[in-house]
C-alpha cells in the first residue's frame, strides 16, 4: 500500500510538470492529461478499497444489522465519488455552470437513493409509538 502511495505521489509530480509544459502551447491537452492522471490514480485506489468494503459488510452482518441498509450507503458513496470526479473535471476546464448542474443532479440522485432509508426509519419510529 505505502509503496503504491509513494509511486502515485511521484507520478503526480511528473504529471503536473508535463501538464504545465503541454498547457503552454495546448491547454486542452494539458487538461486531458490531468484527467487521465486522476483516472489512473482512482482506479488504483478503488482496486484497494474492495477489502475495506468487505470488512464493513462483515461487521454489519456480525452486528445483526439488516444487510440491505448498507447497500444504499455504499451506493451513495460511489455516486458521490463519481459526481465529485465529474465536477472537478468540469471545474478544471473552467465550465463552472456545467459543474454546478452535475453537482445538483448528483445531489438529487443521491437523495433519491437515500429516501428508502429515511422511510424505513420513519416506519421503525411509528412501530415504536
Amino acid at each position: 500500500m505505502e509503496a503504491e502511495l509513494f509511486r502515485i505521489a511521484v507520478i503526480g509530480i511528473v504529471a503536473a510538470i508535463l501538464a504545465v509544459i503541454i498547457s503552454e502551447k495546448k491547454p486542452e491537452l494539458g487538461l486531458l492529461l490531468g484527467l487521465a492522471f486522476g483516472i489512473v490514480v482512482l482506479v488504483v485506489a478503488f482496486s484497494k478499497a474492495g477489502a475495506i468494503i468487505e470488512v464493513l459488510e462483515d461487521t454489519v452482518s456480525k452486528a445483526g444489522i439488516d444487510g440491505n441498509l448498507l447497500v444504499p450507503v455504499l451506493k451513495v458513496t460511489g455516486m458521490a465519488y463519481v459526481t465529485q470526479f465529474s465536477v472537478d473535471a468540469c471545474r478544471d476546464v473552467g465550465q463552472n455552470s456545467i459543474a454546478g448542474k452535475v453537482e445538483t443532479v448528483g445531489k438529487i440522485m443521491m437523495l433519491a437513493v437515500a429516501v428508502p432509508i429515511a422511510t424505513s426509519l420513519i416506519r421503525i419510529i411509528s412501530s415504536l409509538i
Binding site: A15, K26, L29, L33, L35, T77, G78
Partner: protein, 64 residues
C-alpha cells in the same frame, strides 16, 4: 498500473504542439488546425475509454 497513459498523452501533446509550430511557420494554418483537432480527438478517445473503466470499477465496488 496504467502510468503509460499519462506519458502517452504527454508525448502526443508535445508532438502536436511541435507539428503545430512547424506547420504554422510554413504557412499552413489550416493543416496546423487539423493536427490540433486530430490530437485532441485521439487523446479524448483514450481518456474516454479509461473513464468508462473507472466508472465500471466504481459500479462493481459499490454494488450498483
Amino acid at each position: 498500473m496504467d502510468v503509460d497513459l499519462i506519458f502517452k498523452i504527454a508525448a502526443i501533446g508535445i508532438l502536436v504542439s511541435i507539428l503545430n509550430i512547424v506547420l504554422s511557420k510554413s504557412g499552413r494554418e489550416e493543416m496546423a488546425m487539423m493536427t490540433t483537432l486530430a490530437g485532441v480527438v485521439v487523446v479524448l478517445l483514450m481518456v474516454a475509454k479509461e473513464i468508462v473503466n473507472l466508472f465500471n470499477t466504481v459500479k462493481t465496488l459499490f454494488g450498483f
